[in-house]
Symmetry: C2
Subunit: 304 residues, 2 copies
Amino acid sequence: MPALHLVQASISLKPALDAIGKSMDQRFDRLLAVPDDGRARLYEAMRHAVIGGGKRMRPLLVVAACDLFHVDRERALRVAIAIEAVHCYSLIHDDLPCMDDDDLRRGKPTVHKAFDEATAVLAGDSLHALAFEVLSEPATHEDPFARAELVLELARASGPAGMAGGQMMDLTAEHAAFDIGATTRLQQLKTGALIGFCLEAGAIMGRIPESGRTPLRGYARDLGLAFQIADDLLDVEGSSAKTGKAVQKDAAAGKATFVSLLGVDRARQQATMLIDQAIEHLKDFGQEADLLRAIARFAIERDR
Amino acid sequence: MPALHLVQASISLKPALDAIGKSMDQRFDRLLAVPDDGRARLYEAMRHAVIGGGKRMRPLLVVAACDLFHVDRERALRVAIAIEAVHCYSLIHDDLPCMDDDDLRRGKPTVHKAFDEATAVLAGDSLHALAFEVLSEPATHEDPFARAELVLELARASGPAGMAGGQMMDLTAEHAAFDIGATTRLQQLKTGALIGFCLEAGAIMGRIPESGRTPLRGYARDLGLAFQIADDLLDVEGSSAKTGKAVQKDAAAGKATFVSLLGVDRARQQATMLIDQAIEHLKDFGQEADLLRAIARFAIERDR
């Protein structure tokens, strides 16, 4: 993917996003060859969810974090596949009728619409397992300490103390009573934990000790919140045609969001401030952090 | 758990099952302390699914396989927790209305009945992640090669090429057209893969090379099929009071099972033959395989 190396902090992130998107599509296509038996439908559903769509923000974050420490691109892309598999599994399950009940995702019917609910549950479960299979495979000679640490961090970020816990809060909490602190906490679990993993993965593969990870964790925390505020703004101001999913759902559901709590203008200011802060965390890095800087700007300038 | 060491091949497995059950309950209780926030309901649902029920056959198999190679009991129990977490997650999702639609499990309401469907989806997902967290934790000083290999094997056994793939076949196949070969293949994926993992885990932790695992794999394959035939027999002849779940569901659903294909008598003969064969695979082991032999006999003599 030479395009990724050409990205400057000041220019569009589009070539990098296109390149990572193509790379993810090719890899998922190879990983998910459809077997000629009763499992074919399951594999078709998994392919529907992971091929040909999505911004691929998380895979790009993994690649950008690996760039900081000159980690081999092949190793970075393997972890990128794992995190995207987890992200897509969570979207399949979140879209189920018993959860957010969404019909549209990435401009296509959601998995339970294109297939059926049982297949959607199993396709999510299967992508979840696939992520850990890819992370623990010895194929690319990742050292086993790093493989075990990557598995541990991804399991924590996606489990009940992370993403799944945040989704639970989102489903059960009395949102009307939520203040900005509670909303921040919810989002740090629901979307922040997985974004944090993307940066942590770069540090693990770059063999950076705990003590050297503070800037990356600060970047991840600020980026994650800004990304979520931008999502909330898109839900209010965006179009379904561009985002590829239903919009104005939060207000309809009476959910407290950063926008409902702060208003559109202050929410946008807050997102900009967080992105400035995220980039400030990278001040001791040189050109090798340009991709992370560009991703931060893109996070609040995107229209989907 | 001294009771486990006292079991003789010829005596009841009950003390060993009671001991492993108590041990699993205590460990899940510690692992799943309920947080004082919006995730409390999620943890309660996970606890409902994993504490105080089930035969704990898979955890006992892990312990028995570890006994063969004198693997430390503490290490064995950590893997036992992981496999039981995966087994319980699969039961929660299988019981959902869009899947098998069951109201009763282990003598209690299923998770979506006791809580709700969204919580059941998330509780299953969370137990799935928990399994990989437990396996990859450095806490008990498992060597990282073994940790990565255990994760890889469990991910494969539970994913689309294993358990989840078998469940898909079970949901979509035209069962009326199934012959004994297709039914065997389905069950080898749906239940056999995870049982295979229990034995493989013992070999991994015992540092037994691939070439030395043939007897264990033969035992696992025969035991898995016999176990499934026994389940099919219980579905026809058992009582809901004893099994703690609905019975006679397969016939009502028009599913091909070993019993519908072979009839009750031949199915029982087949199960007995498989168990003799499973025990025969262990002929080169001494007393250290007594627990595995006792489990094999129990698999077809149980009433739940």
